[in-house]
């Protein structure tokens, strides 16, 4: 295929898109809506994850150590903890530090601290914050088996709940996105079927003047690319403006739970490139698949 025909075919594709105004608009509308829904569900699940991570970080594991623990034993535990990559931070807190913290020393409580210091009822502890709660139960069991560990306090039930919520959100997100992709593919393919039906005559003319398959298909492919990219850019702009508007409105609402969410909300600009890239890929993919695959299916060119 010569270069001048490629230029011609691209112009034809754009001409077709414009001439099929209603059809093209319908395709763009469908793809736009689906991308918007996909983008919204992705943003919602990102935010949910963020909120849950926040809750996750508020859950501390406290390892109470025996009073007579040896230095070697604490070293063992410290080494064990530093090798776990699902640990966000851990901290060794001596009984004195714990007491200090507990009494929350201010001027007049200082004497209380001094009096209790020699007979401190609190143990040395490790305070551990996990970044990933999914292995918490095994982890606790391992900790409990260390010499010198008296007891491990951990929010196991909350942790398990968080893990299952995260899991559910993950699966739901994938299912929603998949269903939306499928729906847009079906609708786009139907639109293309109609478009092809409308242009059957033109395609037939192309065939008997000796147009090759690729020559007949390329304008449809260009049309698909065009529609895909247009939908991607449009839905990106709308999602961006809509999301930021929503955040703005949230900041004005004076409700505790709203401001809780607001404090953990993710910012669009942190994800804008991924969203734009994702939209373009999905738009192109559906546009191309719709045009090249279904053109072949319905045309038998």
């Amino acid at each position: 295929m010569a270069m001048n025909s490629i230029g011609y075919l691209i112009r034809q594709g754009i001409r077709n898109t414009i001439n099929n105004g209603v059809m093209s608009l319908a395709s763009v509308g469908v793809l736009f809506s689906c991308l918007l829904l996909i983008g919204s569900s992705v943003l919602v699940s990102l935010n949910l994850n963020n909120i849950i991570s926040d809750i996750e970080h508020q859950n501390e594991i406290v390892v109470f150590l025996n009073d007579d623990i040896s230095e070697e034993q604490t070293d063992n535990i410290s080494e064990f903890l530093s090798n776990k990559d699902f640990i966000d931070v851990f901290e060794f807190i001596t009984k004195d530090e714990a007491l200090e913290k507990h009494i929350n020393i201010t001027g007049n409580n200082k004497s209380l601290f001094e009096s209790l210091k020699d007979d401190n009822p609190l143990p040395d502890t490790y305070n551990i914050v996990l970044s990933d709660l999914s292995e918490i139960e095994d982890f606790i069991e391992e900790l409990e088996n260390f010499d010198g560990v008296e007891k491990v306090n951990a929010p196991v039930e909350v942790a398990n709940m968080i893990v299952s919520i995260k899991h559910t959100i993950g699966i739901a997100g994938i299912v929603v996105v998949f269903v939306l992709l499928l729906v847009s593919l079906v609708i786009i393919s139907n639109t293309i079927k109609l478009t092809i039906y409308n242009r059957k005559k033109e395609i037939n003319i192309m065939k008997f003047v000796g147009a090759s398959d690729i020559f007949i298909k390329l304008p449809f492919v260009v049309e698909g690319i065009f529609i895909g990219l247009m939908s991607a850019v449009l839905s990106y702009l709308v999602l961006w403006q809509g999301y930021n508007y929503l955040i703005l409105k949230m900041s004005e609402v004076d409700l505790q739970w709203v401001s809780n969410i607001y404090n953990n909300i993710i910012l669009f600009k942190d994800y804008n490139l991924y969203i734009l890239a994702g939209f373009s890929v999905v738009g192109l993919f559906i546009g191309l698949l719709g045009s090249s695959f279904f053109v072949r299916k319905y045309l038998k060119v």
Binding site: F208, V209, D213
Partner: protein, 230 residues
């Protein structure tokens, strides 16, 4: 050169449209195909265009064996033919010039050649002044001349016309026929399907008469007894 050899066509719904049809057309001939409605005339054209394939028998056109031609060679093969239909088949949203240039654009021809060739053909069919008009803005006869121009623009070795005058009035029909005759004089093979006996009578050419999917008579073939005549 067109050669049908014992061609039988049975459509999917079991219609036997052609039944053991054998004929051959030499280079430079002017041939009419006549016959009543449903006789199988368009079916013959569709086979030449390779829109349909024979159920039995073989078809050769311009050294292509149409039973064996590869799919990817079909477009190139079709470019060696020029086709005109009863319903013109112009693209409505392209003007006259682009409708004709279209047949050249599907080939790898250079833009500069398109710019030379199209005006030449427009002049040949007498439509230079209508180049920027759209099909809906010109008469039926003019539309058919555009279709003819599109068929000619590739310099095909064979022109095939399925009832080219079916939708235009008699005077214009003669005009189209004269054009076809002119083209034939330059060495192009012309094959015309028609109902109109007046045309056949006026223009000297070979006449193949198809009835019920069989060759009923062929003016080239003097041996009428073969068809049951004394």
């Amino acid at each position: 050169m067109i050669k049908f050899s014992h061609v039988t066509k049975i459509y999917k719904n079991n219609t036997r449209a052609l039944n053991d049809v054998t004929f051959s057309i030499d280079h430079g001939e002017f041939v009419f195909i006549v016959g009543s409605s449903g006789a199988g005339k368009s079916t013959i054209i569709k086979h030449i265009l390779r829109e349909e394939t024979a159920t039995n028998g073989s078809i050769f056109v311009n050294s292509y064996n149409l039973n064996k031609i590869r799919r990817r060679h079909i477009p190139k093969y079709r470019r060696s033919l020029g086709v005109v239909f009863q319903d013109f088949r112009l693209i409505p949203d392209m003007n006259v010039y682009d409708n004709i240039a279209f047949a050249l654009r599907v080939t790898n021809i250079k833009n500069s050649d398109i710019k030379r060739r199209v005006p030449y053909i427009l002049n040949l069919v007498g439509l230079t002044s209508k180049a920027r008009c759209f099909p809906s803005q010109i008469s039926g006869g003019e539309q058919q001349r555009v279709a003819l121009a599109r068929a000619l623009v590739n310099n095909p070795s064979i022109i095939i016309a399925d009832e080219p005058t079916g939708n235009i009035d008699p005077e214009l029909s003669f005009e189209i026929m004269d054009l076809l005759k002119e083209i034939n004089k330059c060495g192009t093979t012309v094959l015309v399907v028609t109902h109109e006996h007046d045309l056949v009578k006026k223009i000297k050419g070979r006449v193949i008469n198809i009835e019920n999917g069989q060759i009923f008579s062929d003016s080239k073939d003097q041996d009428w007894s073969k068809y049951g005549y004394e």
